[in-house]
Symmetry: C2
Subunit: 371 residues, 2 copies
């Protein structure tokens, strides 16, 4: 059993399955729907915790795989856990390491026991199992931890995905058996590739386990966008209504609106900081490259309607200048804005759900078939 | 005439020529002695203005040479001037571009008229004269602007330095004739290499011009440290006591204490941000490389006695982790600390001057011959 966690649905959309809620954790509340910034190596790239707080971010993700390799969970634990190590006193979620093992590692072998792979850091062979992932996540000490799953590639055959999804379920049972800390909520992950039947079976199995939260994994791995929407639409109705739902690795405007319409509450994506490092700003649904010549002499705020530190203080011309000068401050200022933009986008959706105006305000992002 | 500027001496040390004062500018007060961080390209590298304010920094330096090349003074002027462009509403000082022309440029030719050099940015030939430097600085709009001077290399012959120093004086007269804005204080620069007689002549000439402030230039260009101290000791007595004195390009602990003992008020140096980018922290007079293995598992604050954001929130182990992960946030956090350290070092000296304890507290940095 976990203590200190609860999910309360506060409002439902009448036309879609969108919902607004409160996810309580030992380190504070998360108002949903909510975009979650990614702090891979115990920091959101180029942004201090103080700046991150000001974006409106509540829940922050850190990556178990990366932290296991550097600095190692032992150092984080001895530092007092992830919250204290990275000076973020709000809620934190760690993933299981599964996705990175499958997407980044060379020389990996998958067996029933677990996965063996070569560390890209020092070439050493590392053996990661459900038990080891949970032990690492217990040591890191995030509020929400994720089951160790196998994330099949796209495309993959029905039989391969079925085998993988069944193994993921057996691994989940081992994760639950290993998990030690009642102050950490272990979420299960629905896999099943692009096959509705496999997704259905996985979701139904997981729902019976009465977990504190549910994730939809294995999407945004190269499949067409329509398939992501269809997978999410087919999966959410099978998940318990009184538990938070998290769509992993998704964070574009359109994908979030579509998933929220299907009843998803939480999202994570590296897009705001990654785009920043490429000189791009997310502005009201668009993506701008601030290196474009037209911004050199544009003395207006990046987004006059945005309340973030960057938009309140600096012009597009200044950001253009910093980028042309290869000044690292550009990445900080663009990251602050981009994170604020996506967090505030989900906050605006939340308000619209309360106001009964979700489809009126955000319906242009949805397929006609959604509602 | 300038308006909005004044220098008030508030306290004198009984044993040295150290002094505490207030330098008033149109954008606020500078309590002296004070270290001034360098914001070369209209930003202090990796630090936001908000973070910079919290370090205790008051006056910030920006480089005319770099800003002329990128984005160009025209864009800065049209953005509303440097303060608005970089969102720093405190005092700003721009240098003349002279030092960079002499230290960075290839293909330069020096004539009485000015200097011609090849832009390292686009290969274009640029002609910089005293009039052009002042026009650029008028357009940038800093509170304090500097005369365009020739900075001879070390070593250089007596005759060469004499020619150069005399030309610098003629250039100063042309700068004064060109200068248009009464809300900008134009400081003269004492040159003269390592030759006491030339320094003496230059200082005496400049003192007669009743400028709003005086700089000592052409030091820290490769000459032995003892020579810097001797040059400064010999120069300050010739400068008017009621005007601020600025030692250009100097910012180590020892050099600042020695110069303050000689009556210098202002300093600038890139050292805090440059060291940060190399993973180094300035801690109570020492320099630590945070990449050193011993910091990996050191869970104490960088400097428990420091009030900066970095020391209040993060451990040495965390900084070590960020550096080992090549996370840019490391440079921000170390820059915040290093700037705070040097600004607070000069603030502590200021308090000691008021308390009559300057030599008791900081005398170990001084040569026995100083007092």
């Amino acid at each position: 059993m976990t203590t200190g966690f609860s999910f309360t649905c506060q409002a439902l959309c009448c036309k879609t399955k969108a919902r607004a809620g409160i996810f309580a954790t030992p380190h504070g509340l998360v108002e949903t729907p909510r975009f979650m910034p990614v702090g891979t190596l115990a920091n959101v790239k180029t942004v201090t915790p103080e700046q991150l707080r000001a974006t409106g971010a509540q829940l922050v993700l850190a990556n178990t795989y990366h932290l296991h390799l550097q600095p190692g969970e032992d150092i984080v634990a001895r530092a007092g856990g992830l919250h204290r190590f990275m000076a973020w006193d709000g809620p934190i979620l760690t993933d299981s390491g599964g996705f990175q093992v499958f997407s980044l590692s060379e020389m990996r072998t998958i067996a029933e026991e677990g996965v063996t792979f070569r560390s890209p850091r020092d070439g050493q062979m590392i053996h990661l199992t459900p038990e080891r992932s949970i032990a690492i996540q217990n040591a890191l000490g995030a509020d929400v931890i994720m089951a160790f799953d196998e994330c099949p590639p796209y495309p993959a055959s029905y039989d391969n995905v079925m085998d993988s999804t069944e193994r993921t379920y057996r691994w989940l049972k081992r994760c639950l058996a290993e998990h030690q800390r009642s102050d950490q909520a272990l979420f299960g992950i629905v896999q099943g590739g692009v096959y509705p039947e496999l997704r259905h079976n996985a979701a139904a199995q997981l729902a019976q386990l009465d977990l504190p939260g549910y994730a939809i994994g294995g999407v945004s791995v190269g499949e067409p966008a329509e398939l992501i929407e269809a997978i999410v639409q087919a999966t959410t109705p099978l998940l318990p209504p009184d538990k938070p739902r998290y769509l992993m690795g998704v964070g574009t405007y359109r994908e979030m609106v579509q998933a929220i319409a299907a009843g998803v509450d939480l999202f994570d994506c590296v897009i705001p900081t990654r785009l920043a490092r490429h000189g791009n700003a997310l502005v009201q649904g668009d993506r701008w490259n601030l290196r474009n010549a037209k911004f050199r002499e544009d003395f207006t705020a990046l987004d006059a309607s945005c309340a973030c530190y960057t938009c309140q203080n600096f012009s597009r011309a200044y950001l253009s200048h910093l980028l042309r000068s290869q000044e690292l401050l550009a990445y900080t200022l663009l990251s602050i804005h981009n994170i604020t933009e996506l967090v505030q986008f989900t906050q605006a959706i939340r308000r619209a759900i309360f106001n009964g105006s979700f489809t009126a305000e955000f319906g242009h992002w949805l397929s006609a078939s959604t509602y």
